[in-house]
Amino acid sequence: MAKNKDEELTQIRKDLKEILVKELSLEDIVPENIRDDDILFGEGLGLDSLDAVEIVVLLQRNFGIEVSDMAKGKEILYSIDTLSRYIYENRKQLS
């Protein structure tokens, strides 16, 4: 079971990196070069608040989930890894 979870998370991270590069037009970034612990906003990927708008939209479009709890928004959208885990947990609830 743990192996399946790890495999799923790995796939989600991979998909997320590819989607972010494509949807946010991150021209100078290759998905394979993005680290799992890369911070989304400010440092790391260097995204800004307007990119956050697109992330919210692409989460719904690509994964069918929303960031509904504003209080946890900062934690969820901290890094590739935290966002991937959020996707994993919420997709589990939907399926």
Partner: protein, 299 residues
């Protein structure tokens, strides 16, 4: 920003507000307007920052004006701002109301009745913000104002927001990621998000043409609208007589981009459309421009 605050303090100190509130109550609206001519003359002489920033606009709007005409133009803007502030008190205190001439209300109503989608209202520092907000209060939707924390208390007081019982809410731009996630969620739930479109206060902006020269206008509202796929309505008001305001909601934009690689350029086109709408307004109501900031300046 601090300079604007100082400007507002000089032209709007407590004694000044008290004086005009008393003048309206004792002598009526017309007499209170009359006092403005003397008070605004004082500010024309002492408030260098406001004169300079307003003069920047007058020079662009009226390129053939001589120096005396320009000074009179600044004076007229001060007078009009004073009248609108007096009107604001008149309305909030319940002393009376003003007639309205609505433009674009039918198409706005039709849009709301045929779609559950929220939409963005883009406003500007022209005409009467109180009147535009009163108009929004009448719509049967919750309106979220995206604003800076330093404006929060003033805006609540300005609009007479006493509790969360009415349909006006506030999203603070200093919240996580500038409040945009809350704005997106509000739109997805079918609500209205109101954003000021003529000053970014340091947020991302793009260069567009306005009154013949280049200015930077914020593009966040347009990017949000494009991402969420919701309409953006430019809402502007103007005082058209002593007892009447015009409210224009006829400019409905649908920001979108066809190419992700080119999206910034495509969004810029919509910001330019907004600039052209503001030009139309400046052409029609040239002395109700209350930005009080040199938007053509380098800062």
């Amino acid at each position: 920003m601090n300079r604007s605050k100082d400007t507002e303090r000089k032209r709007g100190n407590k004694f000044g507000f008290w004086f005009f509130q008393a003048a309206v109550r004792i002598f009526g609206l017309s007499a209170a307007y009359g006092f403005l001519y003397f008070v605004c003359l004082y500010y024309l002489l002492v408030d260098r920052a406001a004169v300079a920033s307003t003069m920047a606009y007058i020079k662009k709007r009226f390129r053939t004006y001589n120096i005396l005409q320009r000074i009179l133009g600044v004076y007229r803007i001060f007078i009009n701002q004073g009248k609108i502030l007096i009107d604001r008190y008149y309305m909030i205190s319940g002393m009376g109301t003003f007639d309205h001439e609505l433009h674009g209300y039918e198409q706005l109503n039709q849009m709301m009745s045929t779609s559950d989608k929220g939409f963005i209202i883009l406003t500007a520092h022209v005409g009467s913000w109180q009147v535009t907000m009163n108009f929004l209060k009448q719509l049967n939707k919750t309106v979220y104002l995206l604003m800076r924390p330093e404006d929060n208390a003033a805006i609540r007081d300005f609009l007479g927001i006493r509790s969360d019982q009415n349909n006006i809410r506030i999203i603070l731009s200093h919240n996580f990621l500038s409040g945009v996630i809350e704005a997106v969620q509000a739109l997805k739930q079918g609500n209205i998000v109101s954003i000021m479109g003529d000053r970014g206060y340091g947020s991302k902006s793009v260069e567009v043409s306005f009154l013949g020269e280049t200015v930077k206008l914020p593009y966040g509202a347009f990017k949000i609208a494009a991402a969420v796929q919701c309409p953006l309505i430019v809402l502007l008001s103007a005082k058209i007589s002593a007892t009447k305001y015009s409210i224009d909601a006829s400019h409905i934009l649908h920001p979108d981009y066809n190419s992700r690689a080119n999206k910034d350029a495509e969004i810029k086109e919509y910001v330019q459309k907004f600039a052209y709408i503001l030009e139309e307004y400046a052409d029609r109501y040239p002395f109700q421009w209350f930005v009080f900031h040199d938007i053509w300046g380098k800062d």
